[in-house]
C-alpha cells in the first residue's frame, strides 16, 4: 500500500474514532469491548479500503464492522447474552433504505459524544485520568501523543488509562448525560478537558505538524454542543467564544510552506471574520450577565487582539489589565508569563525582562517551558542583546516538541545571526 494511502486512512481513523467509539460504548456499555471492536474494525479497514477504495461514510463503515466484531468477541466469550441482543437490535439492516438515508444525512443521528465526554470527565475519576481518557476516546490520540502532550512518561499514561477504565467498569460509572442538579460539579472538568484538547490541536505537542486541526475541530464542535445544551452556564459560553476567536486565526497561522506564523506577522485579512463576529457576539452577551470566569476573560483577551486591525494597534494595556483579573481568579505561572509578554508593549523591554527573570526565579518550572525562552529572546532582541537572545532561542529549540516549532526557531536564530 502506498504510504500516502496509509496516512490518509490513519487520518480517517483519527477523526472518526471518537464518534464511532462513543456510539459503540452506548450500544455495548463496555469500554474495553468497544475499544477492542474498534481496533478490529480498523484492522479490517486497513485491508478493505486500499482494495475497494475509501467508503463514502467511513464512520458508518467502521461502526458496522466493529459491531460485527464485538458480536464475534462476545460469542467467543460465551457470556452476557443480553449484550448480544442489544447489539443485534442496534445493528441496522444494511438493506434498509431509510437507515441508509439517515446515514447519508448525518452520522450518527444521536450524538453519543456528549455522553461520552461526561463519562470521561466523571468526578469519580482523577483530573489527569479525565483528560487522558477524553483525548484517547474522543480525540483519537494514542498513549504516546497524550504522554508527550503532558510531558509524562508513556507508561504512566497507559497505567492511568487502564486504571480509569477499570474503575468505570468496576464501580459502574454510568454512560449518560448528568442531571441538571449535577451540572455545577461536573461542568468544570468538561470545560477544562475541552480547553486542553483544543490547545493540543492549536499547538501540537509532537510530530511534524504544527497544528492538529482535527483536534481543534473536535474541541470546537464539542464546546458548541456543550454551550448549546447549557445556555445558562456562562463559562460554557465563554469557552466557546474563546475557541471561536482563537480558531478564527487558523488560516493565517501557517504560511504557504506550512510554517508557523506568529501573531505579530499574521495577515489579519485572512482571519475568519465570521468566526470573530460569532465569538464576539457570544462573549458580549455572556459578559452582560456579569458572572465573570476565566474562560470569559481569556475570550476577552482574544477579542482585544481581534479588534486590532494591525499588530501595532493592539490595546496592550487592556490586555494586561485582563490578565490581572484572570490571574486574580486563576493564578498560574504561564498566565503571569503571558501578562509579562503583554507588558513588554506597555512598559518597554527593560521592565519586561526584569519581570520575566523574577518570575523564572520564583517559578523554576517555567525553565522547561518553550514560550518562556521565546518571550525572553524577543525582549533581549529589542534590547539589542543579540547573543543572549540567540542563547535563549537555542534553549527554546532544545525544548521544541514539534519539527515545525523547531524549524521556526532555527529561522529566528538565523535571522538574529545575519
Amino acid at each position: 500500500m502506498p504510504a500516502s494511502a496509509q496516512s490518509e486512512i490513519e487520518a480517517v481513523f483519527r477523526s472518526e474514532s471518537g464518534r464511532v467509539l462513543s456510539h459503540l460504548m452506548r450500544v455495548l456499555g463496555d469500554m474495553d469491548l468497544a475499544e477492542d471492536a474498534l481496533q478490529d474494525a480498523c484492522a479490517e479497514a486497513l485491508i478493505a479500503w486500499p482494495r475497494d477504495g475509501l467508503p463514502r461514510q467511513p464512520a458508518a463503515w467502521l461502526t458496522t464492522a466493529a459491531r460485527r466484531r464485538a458480536l464475534d468477541r462476545l460469542r467467543s466469550r460465551r457470556r452476557r447474552p443480553e449484550q448480544e441482543a442489544m447489539i443485534e437490535e442496534a445493528t441496522p439492516d444494511p438493506r434498509d433504505p431509510l437507515r441508509e438515508l439517515e446515514q447519508q444525512l448525518e452520522w450518527p443521528i444521536a450524538d453519543d459524544r456528549l455522553q461520552m465526554i461526561f463519562l470521561c470527565c466523571h468526578p469519580a475519576l482523577a483530573r489527569e485520568a479525565q483528560v487522558a481518557l477524553t483525548l484517547r476516546t474522543l480525540g483519537g490520540l494514542d498513549t504516546r501523543a497524550i504522554a508527550r502532550a503532558f510531558l509524562q512518561p508513556e507508561s504512566a499514561v497507559s497505567q492511568r488509562l487502564l486504571r480509569a477504565k477499570q474503575k468505570i467498569a468496576e464501580a459502574k460509572i454510568p454512560f449518560r448525560r448528568p442531571r441538571e442538579s449535577e451540572l455545577p460539579e461536573r461542568l468544570p472538568a468538561v470545560l477544562a478537558v475541552l480547553y486542553l484538547v483544543f490547545n493540543e490541536g492549536y499547538s501540537a505537542s509532537g510530530g511534524d505538524r504544527a497544528l492538529r486541526l482535527e483536534l481543534c475541530d473536535e474541541a470546537l464542535r464539542l464546546a458548541r454542543l456543550v454551550a448549546g445544551w447549557m445556555p445558562d452556564e456562562e463559562e460554557a459560553q465563554g469557552l466557546l467564544a474563546l475557541l471561536l476567536l482563537s480558531d478564527a486565526r487558523r488560516a493565517a497561522r501557517l504560511d504557504a510552506d506550512g510554517e508557523l506564523v506568529l501573531l505579530e506577522h499574521q495577515d489579519r485579512a485572512r482571519w475568519s471574520s465570521a468566526q470573530i463576529e460569532e465569538g464576539r457576539a457570544l462573549l458580549l452577551h455572556t459578559l452582560s450577565r456579569q458572572r465573570l470566569g476565566p474562560y470569559q476573560l481569556e475570550a476577552a483577551i482574544a477579542a482585544v487582539h481581534a479588534d486590532a486591525a494591525r499588530f501595532e494597534d493592539t490595546d496592550w494595556a487592556e490586555i494586561a489589565a485582563l490578565y490581572d483579573r484572570l490571574l486574580a481568579l486563576r493564578p498560574s505561572p504561564v498566565g503571569e508569563l503571558n501578562r509579562a509578554a503583554a507588558l513588554l508593549h506597555v512598559h518597554g523591554p527593560e521592565r519586561a525582562l526584569a519581570t520575566i527573570d523574577a518570575l523564572l526565579a520564583r517559578e523554576p518550572r517555567l525553565e522547561d517551558y518553550v514560550f518562556t525562552h521565546v518571550a525572553r529572546a524577543e525582549v533581549l532582541r529589542r534590547l539589542e542583546r543579540r547573543d543572549e537572545a540567540r542563547a535563549a532561542l537555542a534553549r527554546a529549540l532544545e525544548l521544541a516538541r514539534t519539527e515545525a516549532d523547531a524549524r521556526h526557531l532555527r529561522r529566528k536564530i538565523a535571522e538574529l545571526t545575519s
Binding site: H122, A124, A171, K172, I173, P174, R176, P178, E182
Partner: protein, 117 residues
C-alpha cells in the same frame, strides 16, 4: 449493583457534641434510613460502637495476635455503613451525599465485588 457506603467521622468531635446537636443528627439519620428503605435500595445498615471498643486480630505463621483498638490510628474513624443496591455509581453517590455524617465527615463508596456464576 451493590455498593457499600462506609461512613467515616471524627469520634472525639462527635462525643463532644451537645445532646441537642446529636439528637438532630439522629433524627436526620432516622429519616434518611426511612427514605432509603422506601426506595427499595436498602440491603443493610448499622452504626458501630466507637473504636475504643475495637479489638484487632491478626494471624501470623498460624499464631493469633490480638490487640486493643482499631487497626490504624486515623483522624476519622469508620463508624457505620449502609449496603445499598442501585443501578450505578451516580445513584450510589446521590445516596452517599444524603448521609448526615457526610456534612462533617466523609462517606467512601465502594462497589461490592460480586462473585460470578
Amino acid at each position: 449493583m451493590r455498593y457499600m457506603l462506609l461512613i467515616h467521622s471524627n469520634e472525639i468531635e462527635e462525643a463532644g457534641m451537645s445532646e441537642e446537636a446529636m439528637g438532630k443528627i439522629m433524627a436526620e439519620y432516622y429519616s434518611f434510613t426511612e427514605e432509603l428503605m422506601k426506595s427499595g435500595a436498602l440491603r443493610a445498615g448499622d452504626r458501630l460502637r466507637p473504636t475504643t471498643s475495637a479489638t484487632t486480630v491478626r494471624v501470623r505463621n498460624g499464631e493469633r495476635l490480638t490487640t486493643d483498638g482499631p487497626f490504624a490510628e486515623t483522624k476519622e474513624q469508620f463508624g457505620g455503613y449502609y449496603l445499598i443496591d442501585v443501578p450505578d455509581l451516580d445513584e450510589a453517590i446521590r445516596w452517599a451525599s444524603k448521609i448526615p455524617s457526610a456534612k462533617y465527615g466523609c462517606v467512601e463508596v465502594r462497589p461490592i465485588w460480586e462473585m460470578e456464576g
